[in-house]
C-alpha cells in the first residue's frame, strides 16, 4: 500500500519507525518493504480476520463502571512495533539491575532498614508510606525476594531516550495480552515471520512456572500452585484464567481456600482438603487476609498471613512488596541502585518533583500547566492530571489535593511519547505508545522479550491504559540487517 512516509511524520516527537530523513529506521526496513508491497484490500482483510479472531477467542478485558457488559473485545492494532535487538539488550540489563535493587530495598525496609539509617532514604517517607505493611516486619522470604513479578512501564521521549515511568510491583497485569498479540500476528501475517528475524516471546509461561515452583516450602515435592483471583468481575480475569491454564496452576478464589489450625493453606476439592504450597496472588494486600488487613474483604483468606509468616506457604508477590510500588519511592530508585549494587543505573528515571519537598512543591504548583501530576499510590492511570490538557478547574482541584497531602503526589514533565505507525481507518498514522516488559525473580532472573506495547488510539492522546481507551500491538525485537 501507499505508506506516505513523507506525510506520515508531522509531530516534533520521536517516531520509532521512520527517522528524521523520512526513511525507515534499520530495524523497521523489512516491515516497511512488506507493508509497501501489501495491497490495501489485503491489509483490511487481514485486520478483519484478526478482529474476528479476537471475538471468537474471547480475548477480553473489563472497564470498571461499564455496567452493561462485563467483558469487551481487546482493541488490537495489527501493525507491529519494532525495536532493534541491540537496543533491547541494554534495556534488558537495566530491568534486571532495577528489580534486583528494588528487592534488596524491600528486604532491607522490612528488616534492618540500613538505607534509612544511612540517610539515603528519608525516614519520614517510610513512616508515611501507605503500602508499608508493619505486619511484614522481620520476614525474609526465600532468596530475599519480595517482588517476584514486576511490570515496568517504559516510555521514549522526543530525543529517543528510554525512561522508566513506573515499577508495578503489586499485581501487574498485561502479560497474557502480550502473548496473545503474538499468536494473533502469527496467524494474520505468517510470511512476515519468515522475512524478519523476530525473537520469540513464548518462554514467559515456562519461566513463570519455574519462578513460582522455586518458592515452594516443601522441597523435593511437586509443588501445588494456586493462582488467587478476585473472580470473574475483575478487569484482568481473562489473564488470571489464561496464566493458570498455561502454568498448570489451580485458579482459585478466596472462598476456595482455608487455613487450618496447623497454619497450612488448603484448597477445598471434591476429594477433601489439599495443601497449597505457592500462591500467585492477583489481589491487593488490602484484601489478602481479613484477619490482618481489611476486615470487610470477602476476596481473601482468613489466616493467610499467619500461614505465610510460619513459612508454610509462599506468596508471590509477597505481602508488603508494594512498598516500592510508590511514585515517590520511584524517584529514589537511582540512589537505591547505587546504594545496594554500587552501580550506575542503566535505565533512566523521568525527572521527578516530589511534593513533600517544599521547593519541589512550589515549582509544581506554579507549573501545573506543564506537568503531569500523579498520586503516589494509584495504578491504571486513575487520578492522574495531565497539566497541558487539563481544564483550569481540574488544575485548581489538583492543587488543593497536593496541598492537602504533599506526600501523596509527585509530578513529572510532560513527555512527548514516541509514536509508531498504527492503522487508523484505512490509513497509517502515528500514535503514541509505551511499553510494559515483565521481569521475574526468585532463584534466577527472567525478562520478557520486549513486552506489552500499549497504544493511545486517539490522535495526539498520551493515555494508553486499556481501561481508558487504549489499544495494544505486538512488540518485535528484531535482529538488524535482515
Amino acid at each position: 500500500m501507499e505508506l506516505g512516509l513523507e506525510r506520515y511524520l508531522r509531530s516534533d516527537g520521536f517516531d520509532e519507525f521512520v527517522g528524521p530523513d523520512h526513511a525507515p529506521r534499520p530495524a523497521a526496513r523489512a516491515l516497511c518493504r512488506y507493508l509497501t508491497g501489501l495491497a490495501e484490500e489485503d491489509l483490511m482483510a487481514r485486520r478483519a480476520a484478526v478482529d474476528a479472531a479476537i471475538v471468537t477467542m474471547g480475548i477480553t478485558f473489563t472497564t470498571y463502571g461499564d455496567g452493561a457488559s462485563i467483558d469487551r473485545a481487546w482493541p488490537f492494532d495489527p501493525i507491529p512495533r519494532v525495536m532493534a535487538a541491540s537496543e533491547w539488550a541494554v534495556i534488558d540489563r537495566g530491568l534486571r539491575q532495577r528489580l534486583v535493587a528494588l528487592n534488596l530495598f524491600i528486604d532491607d525496609l522490612y528488616n534492618d532498614q540500613r538505607i534509612v539509617r544511612d540517610g539515603v532514604f528519608p525516614a519520614e517517607l517510610l513512616a508515611n508510606s501507605r503500602n508499608f505493611r508493619g505486619q511484614c516486619r522481620g520476614m525474609s522470604p526465600r532468596f530475599g525476594v519480595w517482588a517476584h513479578i514486576c511490570g515496568t512501564d517504559l516510555v521514549r521521549d522526543k530525543d529517543g531516550t528510554v525512561y522508566v515511568l513506573e515499577d508495578n510491583l503489586r499485581v501487574p497485569s498485561g502479560v497474557s495480552y502480550m502473548l496473545e498479540n503474538r499468536i494473533l500476528m502469527k496467524s494474520a501475517f505468517p510470511e512476515l515471520f519468515e522475512m524478519c528475524r523476530i525473537q520469540p516471546v513464548d518462554g514467559y509461561t515456562a519461566a513463570l512456572y519455574d519462578m513460582l515452583a522455586a518458592l515452594s516450602p516443601r522441597m523435593g515435592e511437586r509443588p501445588v500452585i494456586a493462582l488467587l483471583t478476585p473472580g470473574i468481575f475483575n478487569s484482568a480475569y481473562f489473564e488470571h484464567s489464561y496464566l493458570a491454564q498455561q502454568i498448570g496452576a489451580q485458579l482459585v478464589q478466596g472462598t476456595d481456600l482455608l487455613v487450618g489450625s496447623d497454619d497450612v493453606v488448603y484448597m477445598k476439592t471434591i476429594a477433601g482438603l489439599r495443601r497449597v504450597d505457592v500462591i500467585y496472588r492477583r489481589i491487593d494486600d488490602d484484601f489478602l487476609d481479613p484477619d490482618v488487613f481489611r476486615a470487610d474483604s470477602a476476596l481473601g483468606v482468613p489466616g493467610l498471613m499467619r500461614a505465610w509468616r510460619k513459612g508454610n506457604v509462599a506468596i508471590a508477590n509477597a505481602p508488603g512488596a508494594g512498598v516500592a510500588d510508590d511514585k515517590v519511592v520511584y524517584a529514589f530508585v537511582p540512589e537505591i541502585i547505587k546504594y545496594y549494587l554500587s552501580e550506575d543505573p542503566i535505565l533512566q528515571n523521568v525527572p521527578s518533583y516530589l511534593c513533600f519537598r517544599d521547593e519541589d512543591r512550589e515549582y509544581v504548583l506554579a507549573n501545573l500547566d506543564k506537568l503531569v501530576v500523579k498520586p503516589a499510590n494509584e495504578s491504571g492511570g486513575y487520578g492522574i492530571l495531565i497539566g497541558p490538557q487539563a481544564t483550569p478547574e481540574a488544575r485548581r482541584q489538583c492543587a488543593e489535593r497536593v496541598k492537602a497531602d504533599p506526600r501523596g503526589f509527585m509530578a513529572q514533565p510532560t513527555l512527548t511519547l514516541s509514536t509508531v505507525p498504527t492503522l487508523v481507518g484505512n490509513q497509517i498514522a502515528p500514535r503514541h505508545v509505551d511499553m510494559r516488559p515483565f521481569v521475574l525473580q526468585s532463584g534466577s532472573l527472567y525478562v520478557t522479550t520486549g513486552g506489552l506495547t500499549r497504544v493511545a488510539l486517539q490522535e495526539g492522546s498520551l493515555v494508553v491504559n486499556s481501561s481508558q481507551g487504549g489499544g495494544s500491538k505486538d512488540t518485535w525485537i528484531v535482529e538488524e540487517g535482515a
Binding site: V55, T56, M57, G58, D71, D202, T205, A206, E221, R222, V224, I232, S241, Y242, A244, Q245, Q246, I247, G248, A249, Q250, L251, V252, Q253, T255, D256, L258, G260, V264, Y266, M267, K268, T269, I270, A271, G272, L273, R274, R275
Partner: protein, 338 residues
C-alpha cells in the same frame, strides 16, 4: 485435584448445553407434529411450557398461549432462565470461568454459540428460520461434546462434564416423551390412532431415535414400545437407562462416591422393575414423574458430596496414588498447549 467450585461449574456448564440442545429438539419435533395434525385437533401450547416445568413463569410473562409467544419464551426470552438463549448464556459464563481446565477450542465454540444466539434473540423468527437456527444449535452442541470426548483428557473435570450432561439428558428425555399429552384430539379413538402413532414418530424423531428404534425396538410404532425403548434400551445413548449407566461409570471414577452411587442404584432398580403396565398409557405420567424424582435425588447426592463443602472435612493424605496421577495429568496437558 479438582476444586469443589470448579466441579460445580463444569457440571452445570454441561447441563446447560444439554438442556439447550434438548429444548431445541423438543421445539423442532413439535413443529413437525403440528404440520401433520388432522382437522379438528388442536395443540395445547401451554402444555409445551408445562413439559419443561416453566408454566408459572410463562403465565407471568405472556397474556396468552400461542405459537409465537411460546416459541419466544422457549428460544429467546432473557427473562426465562430455561430458554435456549439463557442456557447458552449460562453455559458460556461457566465455560469462561473454567477456561483453565477446558480445551481452548471449546471456549471458542461455546462463545460462538452465544454470539449467534444473541444475534438471533433480537427479533422473533418465522418457522423456517427457527428450524434452521435450532438445527445449527444442535449441531454446534454435538460438535462441542465431540470436542470434549476427543480433545480433553478424560480426567476428573471430564467426569463432571459427562455427569451433568447425562443427568440432564435423562431428565429431558422423560419430558420429551410427554409431548404427546399436548395434542388434544376430539372424537372417537378410530381417528385418534393414526394421529397418536404419528405423534410417537415425532417423539422418536426429536431424539434422533426413529432409525434406531426401527432397527432395535419393536416393528410397530406404538406408545408402549417407544416408551420402553426411550426409557430402557441399554444401547441407545439418549435412553434413560443408558444415561444412568453412563452416570454410574463417571461416579465410579470419582472419590467419595458412596452416596451418589446409592441414589443412582435406586433409580436403576426402579427402571429394571417397571412392568408393561407401568409403561402403559394409563400409568405413563406417574412412571415418568417417579423417574424425574429419582434423577433429582442423584443430583442432590452429587451436590452434597462434591459441591457443598463441609468445614470439618479432613485434609487429604498427601501423595496418594490417584491424586498424584491426576495432578501430573493436569500439568502435562497445560504444558502441551504452551
Amino acid at each position: 485435584m479438582m476444586l469443589s467450585r470448579a466441579a460445580e461449574n463444569l457440571y452445570w456448564m454441561a447441563r446447560y448445553l444439554e438442556r439447550a440442545e434438548n429444548t431445541a429438539r423438543l421445539i423442532n419435533a413439535t413443529a413437525q407434529v403440528l404440520l401433520d395434525l388432522p382437522r379438528g385437533a388442536s395443540f395445547g401450547w401451554d402444555n409445551l411450557v408445562q413439559i419443561v416445568g416453566l408454566a408459572g413463569l410463562y403465565q407471568q410473562a405472556y397474556p396468552e398461549s400461542n405459537e409465537s409467544n411460546v416459541m419466544d419464551f422457549l428460544v429467546s426470552a432473557q427473562r426465562n432462565p430455561g430458554s435456549i438463549h439463557s442456557c447458552v448464556k449460562y453455559a458460556r459464563e461457566n465455560c469462561r470461568v473454567m477456561r483453565d481446565v477446558l480445551p481452548r477450542e471449546l471456549w471458542e465454540r461455546v462463545n460462538a454459540m452465544y454470539l449467534a444466539s444473541l444475534r438471533q434473540s433480537q427479533n422473533r423468527m418465522g418457522r423456517v428460520e427457527r428450524r434452521r437456527v435450532l438445527e445449527d444449535l444442535i449441531r454446534d452442541k454435538q460438535a462441542a461434546s465431540g470436542l470434549l470426548a476427543d480433545c480433553m483428557s478424560h480426567d476428573v473435570a471430564y467426569q463432571f462434564l459427562r455427569l451433568g450432561e447425562h443427568l440432564e439428558r435423562a431428565d429431558m428425555t422423560t419430558r420429551i416423551i410427554d409431548i404427546h399429552a399436548a395434542v388434544l384430539i376430539p372424537g372417537s379413538t378410530d381417528t385418534a390412532d393414526p394421529v397418536i402413532a404419528m405423534l410417537w414418530v415425532g417423539v422418536l424423531n426429536s431424539l434422533s431415535a426413529f432409525q434406531m428404534y426401527r432397527r432395535h425396538g419393536s416393528n410397530r410404532v406404538e406408545g408402549e414400545g417407544v416408551m420402553n425403548f426411550l426409557v430402557r434400551d441399554p444401547n441407545f445413548p439418549r435412553s434413560v437407562v443408558y444415561c444412568l449407566d453412563e452416570i454410574e461409570t463417571r461416579l465410579a471414577n470419582l472419590p467419595h462416591n458412596i452416596d451418589p452411587l446409592r441414589a443412582l442404584r435406586v433409580a436403576r432398580r426402579r427402571l429394571d422393575r417397571m412392568t408393561a403396565e407401568d409403561l402403559s398409557a394409563a400409568q405413563r405420567h406417574e412412571a415418568l414423574d417417579l423417574i424425574q424424582g429419582d434423577l433429582a435425588q442423584i443430583h442432590d447426592a452429587v451436590a452434597a458430596e462434591y459441591f457443598h463443602f463441609h468445614r470439618d472435612a479432613v485434609p487429604v493424605e498427601e501423595n496418594t496414588g490417584t491424586q498424584r496421577q491426576l495432578s501430573s495429568q493436569t500439568l502435562g496437558s497445560a504444558f502441551q498447549s504452551n
